[in-house]
Symmetry: C2
Subunit: 226 residues, 2 copies
């Protein structure tokens, strides 16, 4: 069972490590980190970095996982990566994305006409790629699974573990990583956070990540339309 | 705000990445990975590895975090690491451990007479170090915070974030990482997992990690006692 996790400059550490911690327990799993720029890949916060092989090092992964991160929008123009996602998806058992990783599946054309989700900040942007944005922790559509932001990768990976290897293994992995969450605050979604918290986080994201892609795409398309 | 995360061969990826994803948002945070064997440090599952500086690269961290992992028991004999933990703890604001990282705080003598927790598999072993084992997600005792296994590091880091920088920042970080967990199974603690699941996981741990340290310590002390 080949599990390929795509890395790129500006991935989010937990988007990768959460699913990794679950998926390496799949029967006979061999997890690989792959990138269109092999070598040490920097996360979106220092000093976190992981080493990746070239995309072509693993030709036919059964499970593909694309994480999100501050660097996602910059990857939307990486034609080699997008072509690789399209080709690899033809033979995967499961093609998955965490957080804004969904944007890359979208840019590769894989979400056209499909329900999908991503980090709440970018959720409306999925429509740019012809997807149907859904507010949900996990969205399964055919062989494609997308999930909400960052920490949702753990939930998705356990779900995927169950789909691939059965409930018993998923329950064993959950006990193994003692995943019995007790968040000390209740501010983890737009529905639960206060207006002040939402406003602050939107401002910080706009500063560090940039505007949501739907805005970027609209400003790009306007001059062409005139 | 210097945050030092200790790495050693056989750390668990999520023990590090979960807290990292929260703590790098602390005001003026500078996170460092440090190790008594600097260089690329392999996690307990391939190909996850992170690069660490020498322990002495960061002399006086305000926050110290020790992750757990399959390699923890082997580190109990690393006298340089244990001496460093004792010394650095003298001036930290917070000394923390995730999962079996608590064992290293214990071996350094920092948990003597204190309530503490760790991964359920090693919980009774904390008594070997004079700690009072507690079944809890997070245990705070003076400047020391310990937490349950692997995924508990996210809960602990959010708690710590609130203690250091206030509830508003912790709530912002929680929304930023969309930490609104929806585990697809309910098997994340000994109280919730079925007996079959518990038995399976104990068997796998005994094979991959070794017996709980309390057993190892008892077998080591017996010949000396005779």
């Amino acid at each position: 069972m080949q599990v390929s996790i795509v890395l790129y400059d500006g991935f989010t550490a937990l988007d990768v490590a959460g699913p990794f911690e679950v998926l390496h327990h799949l029967p006979d799993a061999q997890v690989s980190f792959v990138s269109s720029t092999p070598g040490m890949i920097q996360a979106d916060a220092a000093p976190f970095a992981l080493e990746a092989q070239d995309l072509d090092a693993v030709p036919d992964p059964q499970v593909l996982l694309v994480p999100g991160g501050n660097g996602t929008q910059a990857q939307l123009a990486d034609e080699r990566l997008l072509a690789w996602l399209r080709r690899v998806h033809e033979t995967t058992q499961w093609t998955t994305a965490v957080c804004t990783g969904s944007m890359l599946l979208g840019a590769a054309g894989l979400l056209e006409g499909r329900p999908a989700t991503t980090h709440w900040y970018e959720l409306p942007s999925l429509a740019v790629f012809g997807a149907e944005p859904r507010t949900a922790r996990i969205v399964e559509s055919g062989r494609i699974i997308t999930c909400a932001g960052v920490s949702a990768g753990v939930d998705m990976a356990l779900y995927l573990c169950g789909r691939i290897a059965g409930d018993a293994l998923a329950e064993c992995v959950q006990l193994g990583i003692e995943y019995d969450p007790e968040p000390p605050y209740d501010s983890g979604s737009l529905a639960k956070a206060s207006d002040d918290v939402e406003e602050l986080v939107r401002a910080v994201f706009r500063e560090s990540y940039g505007p949501p892609y739907a805005e970027v795409a609209a400003s790009l398309s306007q001059p062409r339309a005139r």
